[in-house]
Subunit: 458 residues, 2 copies
């Protein structure tokens, strides 16, 4: 009952789809710069659910850790093999299995990326709306309950996954949910698996809700004098019931970075980037209402973009903000924070974070999905400077604690992994023990992504 | 370790808020006519979460069943004390604890009804949208993952509960979720508790998402030649992305009942009742698009109502359809079925059910929330006729099996209770064993609503 015994069994099962090459191990043990590399002992490349089930059974019998791996875009060390074992790379299970336009759903493999799915859907008039920025795998997005810029309108992965096929630790295959839009039949195992980061089961198939391509899209930007004014405008627009498809905040440091990177000349003050989806009439009306409310909060220079190329340019500026921010400190890597607070506390959370960073020794532009109360600081560190990294960690810890003090959560969308594990007890109290009890019930040998999300006493 | 020992302890704790009066026991053991009465041994009336925790601890030590009880509107025998024990009546925990307009949320006790909440919210410009028809308690609605006419727009309880306070079987108090709109921190215990029908924990407080009162509301009705035409129109409208707040189907038998009950003169063919929420302009545009698409499917006699009194009259006809249907067979009670199928299979499911009922010995109008693929037959039985009841059960079983055959679920919104327990294995397969494992982990003594939802081998 050792990892080596497991690997012998897996090798017999998978042949050359079990890799022990150094480069493969290193690639799968790599993570954000601020986590130490933690390579697995082997990388498995399954092609079918049945293979995943067999792999799990072998690992379970031999107490060999098994870590699901999608596109490698996780930010909190989710895929690090901190106890060794097998990295389960889903690159071969990346098909669109079925699209049902009448039910507005698609069934896909976990290795499919969201961009690939949307490319395949283009001719159907449908799209999958969750957009975390990175071209993540849909299995990974489900496992971390990902969201992004469009969650304010379309929700997070929690709201956009109808059903899952999941392989349990012992190799049993479970289907959660159906093609029906709702159900009151039993515990919501779909929701339990979403966000469980591969610690309760391994997602081998997803049934995703699709949306109709909106008839019209209008995007816009506007500048505010202060963070409080920008956030106040967001709150007022939400309360007025204006349906926004995206509503993004960029602070002055982010705007400076965008200007430097994209050659734009936006005024270097807090901005909102917004987008409306709907019929021509509805979109025009929503944009006008937004402009009116924003003006009440002192918004200046409201620009709108309805043509596709103008909208794309606008969102390219937002989506490239990460790269733009990296450009502020040549050679830097980023520690990206991720907190989410009640909307009523958002202005305070952003302002206090801004003040913290201004008093710190490293730069950190702030941007985020303010319709959800979720924002990030892009803390820029010289990867060779332990002092920089320590400072980034200090700022990140203060943000997490601030989120809890304001009634929020230490992660809005990036997840726990190993990066946020130390906050689980504080955020959940007795609820964390409940999570451990569930983990123990479903994975008694503790093989599924061990060391993440929960701590189980053995 | 007996129920009597538990009751002695509870009596000492609660004084005269532990009732053993015959009328109290009978009232709490009553259920829909087709389930035998199953009174508890006592009824407890807690006033605080701490009391609920103490009650749970006493029951857990003495293996005494504990059954949460809200407004008594459950349709599948959820509150029946089939193994005796204590009914936990939340009528005293019915306060609006806090409203945060800035966060668009309300914190409430589980005994509060949805109508009482909406009355208290009236001055805020906000409302709670989930509307199952009955004036259910919000704790009960959460425990059964209820929905209703507005789910097509606002979602079910799954989508409208941000956070819960839950008392576990052993008396520990857990808070799930926060006031933030989303979180990626840990297993989704909120979703796990929603729909668990009091078998995993007892909900003692709910944090609910609120919506802004729409600026404008327009409702309408229209008649179709066939079920297929009506359902086809619904599918097309959804795919066109027209945001409907409600979209209800009534078959010819339901319309005949409504005409007889309300004195209306609607043509006795399949109808859609629809409602739009939004700005003046958006609502007008949505209603026009709907009318255009409906006309493509042969809709006749499209009537719209924008004035409050006209809309209320229209929805009164829909909401009173249950009573109208009862009037079709004097002295009858109803067995109400509840299946949900993928939208693409809805026309077939309704037509096959219609044919089944027409060949049966009892009447059964069909109506439902067709935007979700969810519909009900109101099967009318003479309560003194075993033959009627057997016929209703036969039809209900055929509907449940049909739902599974069409890729749907045996219950869209009424839940499992005891009425649908026999379908759990067929619907969930190995997933039902996972549910049992979770039940066993969180309620090892099996005191929480025993005999419902799961079967645990001891």
């Amino acid at each position: 009952m050792t990892i080596e015994t497991a690997l012998a069994g897996l090798s017999a099962l998978l042949g050359d789809r079990l890799s022990r090459s150094k480069s493969d191990l290193a690639a799968h043990g790599r993570s954000e710069a601020h986590f130490a590399p933690a390579p697995p002992d082997a990388v498995a490349y399954p092609e079918t659910t049945q293979e995943v089930a067999s792999i799990a059974a072998i690992c379970n019998e031999n107490a060999c850790p098994l870590i699901a791996y999608g596109a490698g875009t996780a930010l909190e060390g989710h895929t690090s093999a901190i106890q060794g074992g097998v990295s389960l790379d889903f690159r071969h299970m990346d098909r669109v299995i079925r699209v049902s336009p009448g039910d507005m759903l698609a069934v896909v493999g976990p290795g499919l990326t969201r961009e690939a799915l949307n490319r395949e859907l283009r001719a159907t008039g449908l799209f999958f709306p969750v957009d975390p920025g990175a071209n993540a795998s849909l299995g990974g997005m489900a496992a971390t309950r990902a969201s992004g810029t469009t969650a304010v309108r379309y929700g997070t992965m929690r709201d956009n996954v109808l059903a899952l096929e999941v392989v349990l630790a012992d190799g049993r295959i479970v289907r959660t949910g159906t093609d029906a839009r709702k159900s009151a039949a039993g515990y919501d195992l779909t929701a339990l698996m979403l966000g469980s980061e591969g610690t309760l089961g391994i997602i081998t198939e997803l049934t995703l809700k699709l949306q109709g391509q909106p008839e019209a899209i209008t995007a816009g930007t506007c500048a505010f004098d202060s963070i409080a004014a920008a956030v106040g405008a967001v709150t007022a627009v939400i309360q007025a019931g204006v349906p926004m498809a995206r509503i993004e905040f960029l602070d002055e440091a982010s705007i400076a970075a965008v200007n430097a990177h994209a050659g734009t000349d936006l005024p270097e003050t807090p901005h909102l980037f917004v987008e409306f989806h709907g019929s021509d009439g509805a979109v025009a009306e929503d944009a006008a209402t937004f402009a009116e409310i924003a003006a009440d909060f002192g918004a200046q220079g409201i620009q709108t973009a309805t043509r596709t190329e103008d909208r794309n340019a606008l969102w390219a500026a937002r989506h490239h903000a990460y790269w733009a921010c990296l450009g502020l400190k040549p050679g830097a890597t980023a520690l990206i924070t991720d907190i989410c607070v009640p909307i009523s506390r958002l202005a305070q959370a952003v302002e206090d974070t801004r003040a913290d960073i201004e008093a710190a020794s490293i730069p950190g532009p702030i941007l985020g999905h303010v319709g959800d109360g979720n924002f990030h600081a892009i803390l820029l560190v010289d990867p060779d400077s332990p002092a920089d990294l320590a400072e980034a960690r200090r700022l990140s810890a203060r943000m997490a604690t601030r989120a809890l003090d304001l009634g929020g959560t230490v992660t809005g969308e990036h997840g726990i992994g190993i990066g946020k594990l130390d906050y689980m007890a504080k955020q959940h109290g007795e609820g964390w023990a409940v999570m451990a009890a569930i983990k123990q019930a479903l994975d008694p040998n503790g093989i599924l992504n061990p060391g993440k999300m929960v701590r189980v006493n053995r």
